[in-house]
């Protein structure tokens, strides 16, 4: 089977110029899933999603159906959609929000019905000005169409949806920080336990937080059935997934691919996908799932794009973003920039993350700029060990949220895979790629 044979579950409309309008949405089967769901019982809808084994598409990969089953029945429960996409080199939700906002809304409405929540909020990253406008327009259209509001499509089910803008903070992608932000506060992740907002969420009430891409899958699952969805992919990784390919490839972009059936090699080199490394360069390293993930080298390029497959190999599929670095890339500079990002975006609550990220960034900077010392390599690893004891994968945690343990990934990968390159920086007193 060719790698592009799987059905386009979430990107089917993106080829149209007017893919974001209600007119196009209705002309291409839009809101049929919502009508079908409303004719079923809420628990039957939830069971369908559970049977599809849809893994959450935000980064942690927790099964959506299991998350839903944790929601305590209570008249005040909320559904919050996480559209704060900020993981570096991840740009899939951005495309879905601008390109097909009704599909997300339909997913939200079906989910809200299954969960019988009292109100839904879609938290979008503030920097998505066009996305916010497209989604608000779609929501206005959906209200006028009778798909949102009172007595939706005559079913007796009522729901309000609110589009909420963030204001620029990576940490608000962490679900408890997102809820704090939605309550009008600083985006500080909450102390766990409770581990899930299903116990104590928005305003202390039971809340389910799902990712935008997760929502985009729901209408298809209801329309085509859980079995059709679960038949795609393999093992725990069912359905398709959007992979955001960035860096030194000829054709960077978002590609919807069947889970597990394609490999990193296909994604990077297939002519219909990444099209290979730019110029005549070769692959040096790649990041398989957002900058929080440990790096892979060319020998791991044949791994399939599946959650467990990548996890077993010592990294994670995470946010589904793949960053390709070619032979001209300085590994110290790449890891330095990623570390600088974590240092800037640490919320500052926990000392290991707040202080550790800053110290790591400054040491990386001095190595890259020729002031490094040989013992800095051990110092870096020691600092990483203080943030995440053992510097292993999956990581140990000394902090409230997983931002802290994500910091060592790029540095530890760099030192493990490219120790000589770090040492050349130290010995030559500068970056050999300058």
């Amino acid at each position: 089977m060719a790698i592009t044979d799987a059905p386009k579950i979430i990107t089917s409309r993106l080829g149209y110029d007017d893919s974001y309008t209600l007119e196009r949405y209705l002309a291409t089967g839009g809101y049929a899933g919502l009508r079908k769901a409303l004719s079923m019982t809420p628990e039957a809808v939830a069971a369908e999603v559970d049977a599809a084994s849809l893994l959450g598409r935000g980064g942690a990969g927790f099964p959506a159906g299991r998350k839903w089953s944790m929601l305590r029945k209570n008249p005040l429960t909320y559904l919050v959609i996480n559209g704060d996409e900020s993981e570096p080199a991840t740009f899939k939700d951005h495309m879905l929000i601008e390109g097909d906002p009704h599909q997300i809304l339909e997913g939200v409405l079906i989910s809200a019905y299954a969960l019988q929540v009292s109100q839904a909020f879609i938290y979008l990253r503030g920097e998505f000005a066009l996305g916010l406008e497209r989604l608000q327009t779609a929501l206005n259209e959906a209200y006028a169409h009778g798909a949102v509001g009172t007595d939706i499509f005559g079913s007796g089910f009522s729901l309000d949806v609110v589009v909420h803008p963030g204001a620029g903070a990576y940490i608000c992608g962490e679900e408890t920080a997102l809820l704090e932000s939605l309550e009008g506060k600083r985006g500080f992740p909450r102390i766990k336990p409770p581990y899930f907002p299903a116990a104590i969420g928005l305003y202390g009430e039971p809340t389910v937080v799902n990712n935008v891409e997760t929502m985009a899958n729901i209408p298809w699952i209801i329309n085509n059935g859980a079995a059709a969805f679960a038949a795609l992919g393999a093992g725990r990784s069912t359905g398709t997934r959007l992979f955001a390919l960035a860096g030194h490839v000829r054709k960077p972009g978002n590609y919807e691919l069947e889970m597990v059936k394609t490999t990193f090699r296909d994604l990077i080199y297939a002519p219909v996908l990444g099209g290979g490394i730019r110029g005549s360069n070769t692959l040096k390293a790649f990041i398989p799932g957002g900058v929080s993930a440990p790096w892979f080298g060319p020998d791991q390029v044949d791994l399939p794009l599946g959650q467990d497959e990548v996890g077993d190999a010592g990294s994670m599929l995470g946010s589904g973003s793949v960053v390709v670095m070619d032979s001209d890339t300085c590994m110290v500079r790449a890891a330095w920039r990623i570390t600088k990002f974590f240092s800037r975006e640490s919320c500052g609550q926990c000392t290991p993350c707040r202080e550790g990220s800053g110290w790591l960034e400054r040491i990386m900077y001095r190595i890259e700029n020729g002031a490094g010392r040989e013992e800095d390599l051990d110092l870096l690893m020691d600092l990483c060990d203080n943030i995440s004891p053992g510097v292993a994968w999956p990581p140990q945690q000394t902090t409230i949220c997983v931002l802290g343990p994500s910091i060592p990934s790029s540095i530890a990968s760099g030192i493990r895979m490219f120790r000589d390159e770090y040492l050349v920086h130290v010995k030559e007193g500068g970056c050999p790629f300058d």
């Binding site: 005040l76 570096p88 608000q136 206005n140 509001g149 089910f157 009008g184 960053v323 990002f341």
Partner: protein, 210 residues
Amino acid sequence: MSHLNADIRERAKELVSLYPQPRSALIPLCHLAQEQDGWLRPEAVEEIAELCGVTAAEVRGTATFYDMLHTEPVGTYVVSLCTNIACMLGGALELLEHAEASLGVRAGGTTVDGVFTLEESECLADCDRTPCVQVNHRYMGAQTPESFDALVGDLRSGALSGTVPPHGTLVRVRRSVGLVADRSAIVEERATASEAQAARAAAAGGGKKA
């Protein structure tokens, strides 16, 4: 005496009414205040506090956490240039150097004429078009040093005034309706649904036993 003009204040009240607790409207209201003033003036902070039922210190506490909320004046055009990993691999550090020289300010600074603020930003989620630049949070596509200078020229001449509003205006689409589902009706509806669900569960459970 209200600092926010009548239209903005009206929209602010609409936003507050969308949330179970008024404080949730705090960030959207900060965006609205920036739409009026370009940044968060102390008078606006006081008024947002009043509208959300919190203290001005709480508004400042929240606002200072977020990159997009400015407690000091910024230029008419905030130019955000991403240098994170995907953009760095696409030449963003070199572009930033060029932009600093071209605009005559370091990242974080505002030009003396108050037209441009240059920001070195984190990932803006447009990573297949690198290096990525946003102006007032509108995507400008991949930029080269040459196209960057042309972009600056177009912004200065007003050629892009239709697509790029002055800094602060985030969402130009207004919500068409408030909350239409009455809260007490929702609670009643959910209670009925919950009873029906329990009855179905009991019936199904009974079936299994028999």
